[in-house]
């Protein structure tokens, strides 16, 4: 500066003025240059940050995409699992239904077997009663009496004896004796 001042002191006034103006402009330019450099540095910094953020975002996007894919796959799997579970459940229900139908059918068969067994057992009971007492449960329930036919025979014999007695008594009555000649005549007339 002292050199510049000593030089400018030697210069004409007009030139000195021009020189001063140029020096001032240079200061302004320098300041602008510094400012621009600082801005450039800041911009470059922002640019770098932005670039790194973009990279991170891209990475995140990729990650999201991957997660979405995984999620979609999971959903698909879940849907498939659910479909399988529903199908299994439906199949199980059908199996249960079939098993119950089979069981009911077996139960009906069992019922008919039991009826047959009971029928036979009750027939055996009849036989046991006949052997032990001579009286059958069935006969009583049928409305019969023990050895019904036998009793009928006894009854018939009793009635025949009763009738014979009645006839004998009739023969001994007065009216029988009074009508005796008439019967003799009738017998003779009936003969061929």
């Amino acid at each position: 500066m002292p050199d510049e001042l000593s030089e400018s002191a030697a210069l004409p006034g007009r030139v000195q003025a021009e020189l001063t103006r140029l020096r001032a402009e240079r200061l302004v330019f320098t300041a602008d240059q510094d400012k621009l450099k600082a801005e450039l540095a800041g911009t470059e910094h922002e640019l770098r940050e932005s670039q790194s953020a973009t990279k991170a975002a891209s990475a995140r996007d990729a990650e999201h995409a991957e997660l979405n894919e995984q999620l979609a796959a999971l959903r698909e799997k879940q849907e498939k699992d659910q479909e399988t579970a529903e199908a299994n459940s439906a199949a199980l229900e059908a199996d249960v239904l079939t098993a119950r139908q089979e069981r009911d059918s077996l139960r009906a068969e069992l019922l008919s077997c039991r009826e047959e067994r009971d029928r036979l057992r009750l027939a055996l009971l009849e036989a046991e009663l006949v052997m032990s007492t001579g009286t059958t449960d069935l006969a009583l329930r049928q409305g019969a009496e023990p050895a019904f036919e036998h009793q009928r025979l006894i009854e018939a014999e009793r009635r025949a004896a009763e009738m014979a007695r009645e006839l004998d008594a009739t023969r001994r009555t007065v009216s029988w004796r009074v009508t005796a000649p008439l019967r003799v005549v009738r017998k003779k007339m009936d003969r061929p």
Binding site: L111, Q142, R159, E162
Partner: protein, 641 residues
């Protein structure tokens, strides 16, 4: 001149019906009405009739029975004016083998060509087959399937009409046949009845048609029900309470002594003492068990019977119970019996997770008919009942068969079978010989007697009448068989069972014992236990018999078939069939004492896993704990995670 009186009877050459005519002649009389013809002890109506082949000078007659004559050989007496027997004969009332048996009876309901209102068809009547109550009566209603009727029901009116028929007094039968109709739907249906006795034959009734109409749902009722339910929901939303996860609110029907109540008391005792539960209890009616609750520190609130007769009454009662439930501090609810749906509904509205124990193996229609009549509750309340079944968090049953019956109302994952045990588990499936001997001596049994035991309150469902009929046949080949029927009380049914024993001359064979608070002695004395009920979910009496080492013959119904294997651990037989019951008794009596012991042992081994009552108490505690933890339903009604 004295005239000798004579008479003859022309006996028919084949059996005759209950009303019949018989012919004969009388000599030595001037008019037919001078003689009397008595058939089976009753004077017959006598009419003059020409009898070809009658002795000369005699008068022919025709005698017509004035009243129905019982089946069997019947004496016919012809007596003169002085009462002297002129002739006697025997006539057989009945049919020949292979012919359709004689049938007397009446199908009282449903009446032909009438309209019946309700959810089911009540088929009632009386019948005698060859003069005896039939062994099996099957009722077939179109759309309702075949149902075996309860038989041996008292019919004093029939007994008065047919005084000489021993079984007339127990000739009644009844069946409830549910038919699936929509509300408001009516359908013309056909019913016919099959009457059968093995060895006698069967009779199929003519088809009778009638109309069944299910009550129509009233739209205003439905609207009112929704409106009142919304009011309750709003009221519930205004209340916030602090609840305790170890506090259970119990709804039950009664605090009187009875099977269901004793089961509950045993459960609550163990839950309080062994599992640390706090219990609050709401009962429809008061009773002596309230004192037991007090001893356990259980708060009891006695309300009225559930008011199911109208929508307003139902919603009002449920709203009151819901408020009570909400303020109880309980975190979980336990409802006892199928009829307790008002309690289950209230707990649900209070937002309390609920387990509902259903002991009854009845369809809803049958249960409703037996408890409330043919057309109750009204459709809107009926829908609440079904919805409550569908939405209750856990439905608990004592038998798988009962669970299966109710599955259509709920979801399989909500339904679970928890069988109960008995404190008699401590006997270990045997009775010591000296204890048995002592019990038999005290009850007056001889050492050679084979003691059969029936335990249960005398009522048509338990089939004591059928048991008497079966014993009538069995004791003739097993005179050493003696039957004790414990549970008699003087209802029309109980009294008729007693009269049946007298009529059959079985007073020395069948011992009728009043209801006993502790029937242990009879179990200790018994050789064979007989359960002849037509509906049983899990008969406690069978458990007790098994615990005492008594082999069991039981009807093949619901829980009984889950407890016994026919021929291995007991004898099963079809319900409401006297023939089947007779054969079961014959099978049991025909099994040697060692065979019977093996049978009892097998039954005990089979039931051992759930005989200990501590087991089901623990299971209930776990279910309720789980419900308290996970089961509180969100507003959508689904369980939270």
């Amino acid at each position: 001149m004295t005239s000798l009186r004579t008479a003859g009877v022309l006996t028919p050459d084949r059996p005759v019906g209950h009303l019949f005519e018989i012919r004969g002649w009388a000599g030595g009389v001037s008019r037919v009405d001078e003689v009397t013809v008595t058939i089976a002890g009753t004077s017959a109506n006598l009419l003059p009739e020409l009898i070809p082949g009658a002795p000369e000078g005699s008068l022919g007659w025709r005698a017509v029975t004035g009243a129905r004559v019982p089946a069997g050989p019947q004496e016919v007496l012809v007596t003169g004016p002085d009462g002297a027997v002129l002739s006697a004969a025997t006539v057989r009332v009945g049919t020949l083998l292979g012919e359709e048996p004689l049938w007397l009876g009446e199908l009282s309901t449903p009446r032909a060509d009438t309209t019946v209102e309700g959810h089911l068809v009540l088929v009632q009547g009386w019948a005698l087959l060859q003069g005896k109550a039939a062994s099996l009566i099957e009722v077939m209603v179109e759309g309702g399937g075949t149902v075996r009727a309860r038989t041996r029901l008292p019919r004093p009116d029939v007994a008065a009409e047919l005084p000489r028929f021993d079984d007339a007094a127990v000739s009644g039968f009844e069946a409830l046949v549910p038919v699936d109709l929509d509300f408001g739907e009516e359908r013309t249906l056909a019913v016919h009845v099959r009457y059968r006795t093995e060895g006698v034959g069967e009779v199929l009734s003519p088809v009778r048609t009638f109309t069944l109409r299910k009550p129509e749902a009233d739209a205003e009722d439905t609207e009112l029900a929704d409106e009142l339910a919304a009011d309750t929901a709003r009221a519930m939303a205004r209340v916030t309470t602090v609840t305790d996860p170890k506090h259970v609110l119990v709804f039950t029907h009664s605090l009187h002594v009875g099977g269901g109540q004793l089961w509950l008391m045993e459960l609550l005792t163990r839950m309080v003492t062994d599992h640390g539960w706090q219990v609050s209890l709401i009962s429809e009616s008061d009773g002596p068990l309230r004192a037991d609750c007090a001893e356990l520190g259980i708060e009891v609130h006695v309300t009225t019977h559930y008011r199911n007769s109208t929508v307003a009454a139902y919603e009002g009662h449920v709203a009151e119970l819901a408020r009570f439930a909400k303020c109880s501090g309980a975190e979980v609810a336990l409802v006892n019996t199928l009829g307790g749906f008002g309690g289950a509904d209230a707990a649900k509205r209070a937002g309390i997770p609920t387990a509902w124990v259903i002991h009854e193996s009845f369809p809803l229609s049958t249960f409703a008919y037996l408890n409330w009549g043919a057309v109750k509750p009204p459709p809107a309340v009926w829908n609440r009942w079904q919805r409550t079944l569908a939405e209750t968090d856990r439905l608990l049953f004592v038998a798988d068969s009962t669970r299966e019956m109710f599955l259509p109302y709920s979801k399989p994952e909500r339904c679970r079978t928890v069988r109960y045990g008995t404190p008699m588990e401590k006997f270990g499936g045997r009775t010591r010989a000296e204890v048995r001997q002592q019990a038999r001596t005290m009850l007056g049994y001889a050492p050679d007697d084979v003691v059969l035991l029936s335990l249960g309150i005398a009522e048509p469902r338990k089939g004591q009448g059928a048991l008497v009929s079966a014993m009538e046949r069995v004791h003739r080949v097993y005179p050493e068989a003696k039957l004790s029927i414990v549970g008699m009380h003087p209802t029309p049914y109980g009294l008729e069972v007693a009269r049946s024993v007298e009529r059959a001359g079985l007073s020395g064979v069948i011992d009728l014992v009043p209801i006993q608070p502790d029937p242990l002695r009879w179990l200790q004395a018994a050789d064979i236990f007989v359960n002849s009920s037509d509906v049983e979910s899990l008969p406690r009496s069978i458990l007790e018999a098994v615990c005492c080492g008594v082999p069991v013959a039981a009807t093949d119904v619901f829980g009984a078939r889950e407890m016994l294997i026919d021929g291995e651990s007991g004898w099963l037989f079809e319900p409401n069939d006297v023939d089947a019951l007779t054969v079961a008794l014959l099978r049991a009596l025909g099994t040697s004492p060692s065979g019977r012991r093996d049978m009892a042992k097998a039954a005990h081994e089979q039931l051992l896993p759930w005989l200990d009552p501590a087991g089901y108490a623990r299971e209930y505690s776990e279910i309720l704990t789980d419900l308290a933890r996970t089961g509180r339903p969100n507003p959508a009604g689904e369980e939270s995670a």
